[in-house]
Amino acid sequence: MDDILKEFLTESLEGLDLLDTKFVMLEQNPDDRDTLASIFRAVHTIKGTCGFLGFGHLEKLTHAGENLLSLLRDGKLKFTQEIASALLNMLDAVRTMLGEVERTGGDGEESYPGLIETLNRLKEGGNAPPTAPPVAPPTLAPDISQNSVADGIFLDAASSTPDLLPPLPPAPKTAPTSQALPDNLFFFSEPEPPASETSPPPPEPIARAAPAVPISDPVPAERSSAPPSGGTLTPIAESSIRVDVPLLDKLMNLVGELVLARNQILEYSVLQENSPLLAASQRLNLITSELQEGIMRTRMQPIHNIWSKFPRVVRDLSVSCGKQVRVEMEGKETELDKSLIEAMKDPLTHLIRNAIDHGVELPAIRRANGKPEEGRLSMRAYHEGGQVHIEIGDDGAGINPGKLRNKALEKGLITPERATTMSDQDIRRLIFLPGFSTAEKITNISGRGVGMDVVKTNIEKIGGVIDLESELGHGTTFKIRIPLTLAIVPALIITTGKERFAIPQVNLLELIRVNEEQRNTAIEYVHSNPVYRLRGKLLPIVHLNRELRLTTASTSSVINIVVLQAGQHQFGLVVDQINDTQEIVVKPLDKVLQDIPVFAGATIMGDGRVALILDVLGIAQQAKVLSDTHDPSLSAQLRAGRTRTAERQTLLLVRSPGNSRLAIPLGPVSRLEEIPMDQVETAGEVDVVQYRGQILPLIHLRDILAERRSFNRLSASEGSGGSADLLQVIVFGDSTCQVGLIVDEILDIIQDVFEIKGRSTRTGVSSTLVIQGRVTELFDVESFLRRVAPLLASVEEV
């Protein structure tokens, strides 16, 4: 794509975003000529460039819009909601066409005749007599008529005095006359419409900005005052230039490297007694820090960049839900990393949709509850503690914990016992579970059950945390904390098993050092799980060396506990040594290592060695901290844990011929016996022993496993292991029908979850497992019993 086209696309798309904001502003203040004029100019510029570049369809559409806008600007036409909707639809169409241009280089086949006609009709409508609205043209674009229907419904539902206001016909309206204004106009009412004194008070404007925080124009003034020049584009401002994001990313990487080199030099210079070197390295330190900050700032963008789209989202949504919502924004200049901004867009949009769809009640209900009919949606952003805090709140119905509890029980997400013990706050957090939706009816906006869990996952993916506060009847606020940037993070360096690991400071709560005297009593056990009493509460303890299967060499006299936050949970991580905090550059692990959940990446330390970065959530999951009972958000894992318990088996470990190991499921085993050699008798072809008043046939394990050999007489194949005169016998079956299996040696009884690793290697073996680090064959009891059945019969005959 050539440069002119690229430039055109960037400029136009930016212009469109700006227009969205301006239209919403205009709705609040329809007489604002300046805003109108700047909208006109922006559309005119796009139109002019389209003509220049030969995009016919695009030009036609923007031309129609421009004509309408020019009448508005000159005051010949009154700005109405219908006009606003049509113009916003035009913006969407232009956006679609620009997308087409970006993909194909042409503006596509769609020429939007319906939309153009609507625009033209609206233009004419301004002059039409108010009492005789023209009949809707048959070719009216469906989206437009739909919009009008929605408007009608909205009026009906939103009006404070429905008895005085007959439902509007769904037919498209012309621009209302000034008489009709107070009734039809609820968005664009002038601050004090004189008519409203006599007529029932119109519903409050929906998207009126809070007086304190107007939704202002984010672009420097030069732009809006730029002369409408057909085709030539003026730069946004002389003081800024466009930079490719990949270039910024590269600079960011380089600065990361520089930070590492700086750390290395600092470490060396401290060891040297060379004061000029020390001074130089200190200066390097300062400059690097400043450079790092500067480069990081280039990637920082105000959160306004995504927030600016929300007033329109709110407007469209509240219209279609029949609700009235006012947006309040605070701290929209709060900056965060560009990649994070992108990542936050979808979760925030989702939260806002939820707030309007489920949070804010219908005006009638609000009035009945003594609240203003107009709902409030507040968005707050601020920096605190090296993190960005974002809050999305509404003053709606709030979340009813009782209702949630029932829903969760109904869906089997919690057990009835847990439902009674969970706090209301924990219950509210259930909404973050997958597949959880309390919406009584599914709307086309939200409530399909995919949602909050995705929001949570997306936020956690960028290292953020989400929580909520809700008061029944007073609203819900979602609180999000995300890191400023992802590439360079402050981290605590610890040592375990002689290796250093970095723990991101975001997860860090506090450090505990247990003295020598308390060493033996500090860590207590609930059943077999270690806990520590932290200010009267039991904190689960995880030993890092055990989780990583490292041997701890240090026999230090103190215990170091790092208290960490993993999602909603806290746990203590026992490490050998706590070193210091450092800014580390996060580097991803190779894909062959990404299956290991406990590491988030790696970094290079000051001495040039590599250290692994711990994934606190991953450790918590591996150590099963998260699946204990007070965790609402991971009941899925609980369930997984439960099925795992079901698979727990108890196995009898024996030495099989050839010194290999064989595991026998303990289920069908009735007893283990030691039988003296000399008690063994012979009955027909089979060795037997008198056992508890019965004749117990004896089968040697090696005869079962070695396919080629027939069932040899025991005397011919004497047991090699154990005591020579005592036979180790495993008795299978019940009191009526038993058989004894002679093994060389019984090694152990183990209980665990076993994963089948390999298929059967020979007859008599059902599969192969790894137990205690050794390959072990699993004895096939069923086929064994089947095979010995004829023997049992023959014994009975004897």
Partner: protein, 154 residues
């Protein structure tokens, strides 16, 4: 010229191996390795290659040759392929870059099995010895690494 190949050669004990020279980015002496707990045992750990973190694979463990007992440190052969990215192969000793004739190439015998069959592409019959060529594309895949791990633990 088309049937001539350049191979970067190296040793594991007395075994003589080669890798296409185009796939070798560099050969560096032993670097401090940071072990990765819970990783397959053939992954010896991570090394710092001028600011880039590179995974080091122990070829002995991969080919199920017992770990070396002497004190000598292994050499890193840093390999880069478009598909697998960059990784380092730990070998005992580095040899010369040899030019080999395609005519002397032969596929491995049927008796070669297990993981070695997948990793050894064939042998060049040099004078007095065989030069085994590794299949670089397969060396650095999670599937192979995990398999090496399992066998190693028996």
């Amino acid at each position: 010229m088309a049937d001539q190949h350049q191979l970067c050669t190296f040793f594991l004990e007395q075994r003589f191996f080669g890798i296409e020279v185009e796939k070798v980015q560099e050969v560096i002496r032993y670097q401090v390795i940071t072990p990765v707990p819970l990783a397959p045992s053939v992954v010896r750990g991570l090394i710092n290659l001028r600011g880039q973190i590179v995974t080091a694979i122990d070829l002995r463990r991969l080919l199920q040759v017992s770990d070396r007992t002497d004190e000598r440190l292994p050499i890193n052969i840093v390999i880069q392929t478009p598909r697998q990215g960059i990784f380092s192969l730990l070998v005992d000793r580095i040899g010369d870059v040899l030019e080999v004739d395609e005519e002397s190439f032969e596929h491995p015998p049927d008796t070669l099995d297990g993981i070695a069959r997948e990793l050894i592409r064939g042998a060049y019959k040099l004078q007095g010895r065989l030069l085994l060529v590794l299949n670089v594309e397969k060396l650095f895949s999670p599937e192979i690494l995990n398999r090496g791990h399992e066998v190693a633990s028996t």
